[in-house]
Amino acid sequence: MQPAPTRSGTGATAAPPAVEVADLRRAYGDFEAVRGVSFEVHPGEVFALLGVNGAGKTSALEVLEGLARPSGGTVRVLGADPVADRARVRPHLGVLLQSSGLPGDLTVAEVVRAWAGTLTAPREPAEALAQVGLTGRADVRVRSLSGGERRRLDLAMALLGRPRVVVLDEPTTGLDPESRRQVWRLVAGLVDDGAAVVLTTHHLEEAEELADRIAVLKAGRVVLAGTQEEIAETQPATIRFTLDPGTPAPPVPDAVEVVEAGPRVDWRTRSLQPVLAELLAWAARHGVVLRALQARAASLEQAFLAVADAD
């Protein structure tokens, strides 16, 4: 894992990490679901854990949430052990589980009020419901909510205690695009207020939208980590164009791997800028038109799929 970028510089103002995970391991019997994961999350930062199902994301989060003890390594939330120092960590920790239950016979407002009553410094329940767009559903029984409404209620409860550290396990799974954007705005607002956010997601666009740094988990290990750009750079860039019939083919630079030679040309390269410059210069010299020309750095998705597919 690469070192965390220091956002706050050095010296007296440097903010220590809100979440510190070092060589975390979790075993179920003989099966080791998390095999030495390390990362740090600073206040005002969003950290995303990506991975296919079974990669160990939820198992790792459960330790942060204080719901499980690690079988190895250490986890510190705001400098404290989330299990041993539970009473000190809890008031500052907001947790959205991948799935959790609510009594179906209570109304939305009753559930939120009861939850607020158990918290040290709760937000106004009405304000919390407004934030997730559930104001009009306050008097509806939880049983009657749609899946997306349930998820937004879950989120309202996770954020009710004004947490400084927020752990969100697949926050937008099952949400429609509009609700998803609403959740993204909420998370962005949390970060602006200085919260540290750890989230897991299946949606790469969600990680692209929200995350400052990303770690890709596979079989319990971090196989890729860094900013989106750093992760994308692990894969070659793509150049595509189409040649008119009868046009001579351009010379292939050394740094290019040819996927298709023509008439539709598809190249991969790790030196996008020089290769592209060479190509354009050649086209200008020979008066060749490169139709539908595209030049693109690798995306997070490409990088993710490359490691997810690899054995």
Binding site: G79, A80, E110
Partner: protein, 263 residues
């Protein structure tokens, strides 16, 4: 970041009360549970005239034990398991309440109904003219309070081997049938061979019955009449057994209670 200190929030009691309020609302909205809560003691009182020579004291004792086992214990096992399987307990674990606070708050409505039923039964028996003043007040109160506490920890411990609320019908049998039958409630333990009687006295419900009989009628488990200081002397063994069960089931719960379904 310096380790945060817990800021002063609402008191522990108020936080538990917030959850108790929600649980009580749930109970009031569950018609089946409500009807059962009222119907069971009424049914028991209706049987009183049919039971001839047991006497009011015996009736109160029987009613207390039956309520503790069938209402308190059984209800709590099904409630805890249902909350666990519905992922409600797991969510509560992500909040600020501690584990014991969550379990206690979940139990409070059932405990209140238990208390209400015991009072209702005693009143019913009094109305029917079968009430006899107890020999001692402290011992029966101890029996009810410690007995109720025991039902809570036996219920939390029973969730360890209860996968669904329905399977509670089977997993509660050792307590509901076994421990109740051998508690001395339905026949005196002196009818058993001595070794078996000793074993029966170590079962979880026997000390509750013994304390009730001592306090209500001044009779020990083997039928001897005691009074004064001897009453408390005779209470030491059942109290010790009761406390041992409380600590044992409590320790097992603290060690192994599962907040989430098995995956």
């Amino acid at each position: 970041m310096t380790t945060p200190t817990a800021p002063a929030g609402p008191s522990r009691a108020r936080r538990i009360a917030a959850l108790v309020g929600a649980e009580t609302r749930l109970l009031l909205r569950n018609r089946t549970a409500l009807v059962n809560s009222v119907a069971l003691p009424l049914l028991l009182v209706a049987f009183v005239p049919l039971v001839g020579d047991v006497g009011g004291r015996g009736l109160v004792g029987t009613a207390v034990v039956v309520t503790l086992v069938f209402l308190t214990y059984y209800n709590l096992v099904t409630t805890y398991v249902a909350r666990r399987e519905d992922l409600v307990l797991q969510r509560l674990r992500t909040g600020e309440l501690s584990g014991p606070e969550v379990l206690l708050a979940t139990a409070v409505p059932t405990l209140l109904v238990t208390a209400g039923q015991v009072v209702l039964l005693a009143a019913g028996i009094a109305v029917l003219g079968r009430w006899t003043a107890p020999v001692d007040v402290v011992l029966p109160l101890l029996a009810v309070v410690l007995g109720a506490a025991l039902m809570v920890v036996l219920a939390t411990a029973s969730t360890l081997f209860t996968r669904t609320p329905e399977s509670a019908q089977i997993t509660t049998l050792p307590v509901v049938v076994g421990a109740t039958a051998l508690s001395g409630l339905f026949f005196p333990l002196t009818a058993l061979p001595e070794a078996l009687a000793t074993v029966a006295r170590l079962l979880p419900l026997t000390p509750v019955v013994e304390l009730l009989q001592l306090g209500l009628a001044g009779r020990t488990w083997d039928g001897a009449a005691v009074a004064g200081a001897d009453l408390y002397g005779a209470a030491l063994v059942p109290l010790a057994v009761l406390v041992a069960w409380l600590l044992g089931a409590g320790a097992l719960t603290a060690r192994a209670f599962r907040w989430a379904p098995r995956r």
